[in-house]
């Protein structure tokens, strides 16, 4: 373990002595911030924004008397049936439907709290505003759950879903950002050391091969995570501007849970990417060869991230598929529709796969025809 730390420290030393590598931590984040802000500014001029004094329209179904105050915050609407109201949400005539269960008051505050259902339309900006407002007001009470059943609450028309494309683009974007920071370090640190003959110097010391592998993977992942987080920060900081123009994302008020899940996802994705790239870098004789191996893999990863967009109603099993699952999980987290089990499954799948690759590398590091290939 002490040797792992020594190697991690050495790698950090190398990263932070190199101006180019330090720059690479910040560059993608800054670029993404500028790009998003630009897109946001452009979009702002073409799409209308919600006026400050806008009052969302709502249909309350079985609204308990104690909650009558709530209707002051909304423009209450009347419909003949719950179904009529829902189709009004889909068509955009109505912002939200709030459905209280019949036994709401009986279960209120009990061990099996009642579940309030809020239907909205993610393609409709004002519907989103209404959804956030209702969620905020109701969750303040903390005595019941909101939208915890498996129903679909987003009543968006399939065609209109295109407008929520941003939530789906983010996984692909994050994937490319993370992959590009991984690719900027992994070949250099492993194939580069082999090529320059510095790996062999370490191989004649009594350090365990797996310790070298762990030291490399951990330090490289830290670098990539740091760079990934800076990129992510760029995205977050640009969001208010962006959401002014494009709908949806800005309307959410993300809680700590969302950030926590995102963070977990990012770390596990980076570990998986770094391990996969490291395996290829171990096989390669030179940095050039490693980059040639990793290029296609990176493309596949980004395509898988893109593919994750097409699973609108993913079953939990899909979350375990490498990269597709993480992509699904990430957009689900960002649109606040994620199931915690799914996200945990995606994280676990990434970690297990990364661990397998570390073990594989441990074996590869013992093979002279891999490590000393000329």
């Amino acid at each position: 373990m002490k040797n792992v730390l020594l190697i991690i420290k050495k790698e950090f030393n190398r990263f932070f002595k190199d101006k180019r590598m330090v720059l690479m931590i910040f560059l993608p984040g800054v670029l993404i911030f500028c790009l998003y802000t630009l897109i946001g500014t452009v979009m702002e001029n073409v799409s209308p924004t919600i006026p400050d004094d806008y009052m969302p329209s709502a249909y309350f179904y079985r609204l308990p008397d104690d909650f009558n105050d709530m209707s002051d915050l909304f423009k209450p609407q009347e419909y003949d049936s719950l179904e009529d109201a829902k189709s009004a949400v889909t068509s955009g005539d109505l912002d939200i439907v709030v459905e209280f269960p019949a036994d709401f008051m009986d279960k209120y505050g009990s061990i099996t709290p009642p579940d309030v259902k809020i239907y909205y339309n993610s393609s409709n900006e004002t519907s989103f505003a209404g959804y956030s407002l209702a969620t905020a007001v109701l969750s303040y009470l903390n005595a019941f759950t909101i939208n915890s059943s498996a129903d679909t609450f987003d009543l968006v028309d399939a065609d209109e879903q295109a407008t929520s494309i941003l939530a789906m683009l983010i996984p692909m974007l994050m994937f490319s950002l993370l992959a590009s920071s991984c690719i900027s370090v992994a070949p250099e640190a492993i194939a580069g050391e082999k090529e320059r003959g510095t790996m062999a110097t370490m191989l004649i010391t009594p350090v365990k091969r797996i310790e070298i592998v762990l030291g490399k993977i951990i330090s490289l992942s830290c670098y990539a995570i740091l760079s990934g987080l800076v990129s992510f920060l760029g995205v977050i900081l640009a969001l208010p501007k962006l959401s002014g123009g494009l709908v949806n994302l800005g309307a959410f008020s993300y809680g700590a849970g969302t950030y926590f899940m995102l963070f977990g996802l990012i770390i596990s994705i980076v570990l998986l990417m770094i391990s996969a790239f490291s395996v290829l870098s171990t096989l390669a004789k030179s940095v050039k060869e490693a980059s040639a191996y990793i290029g296609p893999l990176m493309l596949v990863i980004i395509l898988l991230g893109m593919a994750s967009m097409f699973f609108t109603n993913p079953s939990v099993g899909l979350y375990a598929i490498p990269f597709i699952g993480s992509g699904i999980a990430m957009s689900a987290v960002l649109s606040m529709t994620a199931s915690v089990v799914g996200v945990l499954l995606a994280i676990l799948a990434n970690l297990v796969l990364a661990a397998l690759m570390v073990v594989l590398m441990g074996f590869m590091f013992k093979k002279e025809n891999i490590m000393l290939k000329k």
């Binding site: 190199d18 050391e193 004649i204 009594p206």
Partner: protein, 257 residues
Amino acid sequence: MEEILKVDGLTKSFKQPKKLFKKAEGPHNVTAVDNLSFIAFKGEIFGLLGPNGAGKTTTLRMLATLIKPDSGNAFVDGKSIVSDEDAVRRKIGFLTSELKLEDAFTPDYLFDFFSGLYGIEKSVVQSRKFSLFQKFGIDAFKYQKYGNLSTGMKQKVALVVSIAHDPDFIIFDEPTNGLDVLTARVVTDFLQELRADGKTIILSTHIFSLVEKLCDRVGIIIGGKLAAIDTLANLTKDKSLEDTFFDLYEGVTGEKI
């Protein structure tokens, strides 16, 4: 005399890349070291003398556990290079041009890093670093990047780093290759000093004068096989080392030189 290295039938062959052999005839394997056996004693400088491609470097790489023999074994102070690699690695220091140090770091840092990998206590590292850096004149450039040093400076740093953990058994491949006379002298003097301290040194070279100057015993290796092994005194009794070598070479290869 105490036996510290026992080499027992070491054999190693390399596959040649298929491309090279598409048209050419002959074996696809090159046997670099062929059933090599010898013994080295504690406190001596043992020289492996041989022409280019004789298998000297390959032998030393096997002894240093960098590569594994196809068959045979060797024991460093009783520890097998095949089955007890970690124990062997702790006992030896290996210096060859194949092993490089990272350009981005300073000699000072490199010394600390490698000492750390051997688990040496910090205070011991500092005092050893101090005396070795002084002996080799590394102090003057110990905070410069390794990549910016001259070949000779690099060689000195590599030498010092390879013995940072104070090994009793030192393996040097072509110790004076690429060095000017001054630096070569520093290195050969140091090797003699190490011997005086009771360390065992195995070195490979094709330079007769180096063998004559340093070695107690010599193994002459030709085509991967041991052609002769004896004390330097015995090998140079009747004729010069060079003549002994050429006679052996003729005997083994049938080529007249």
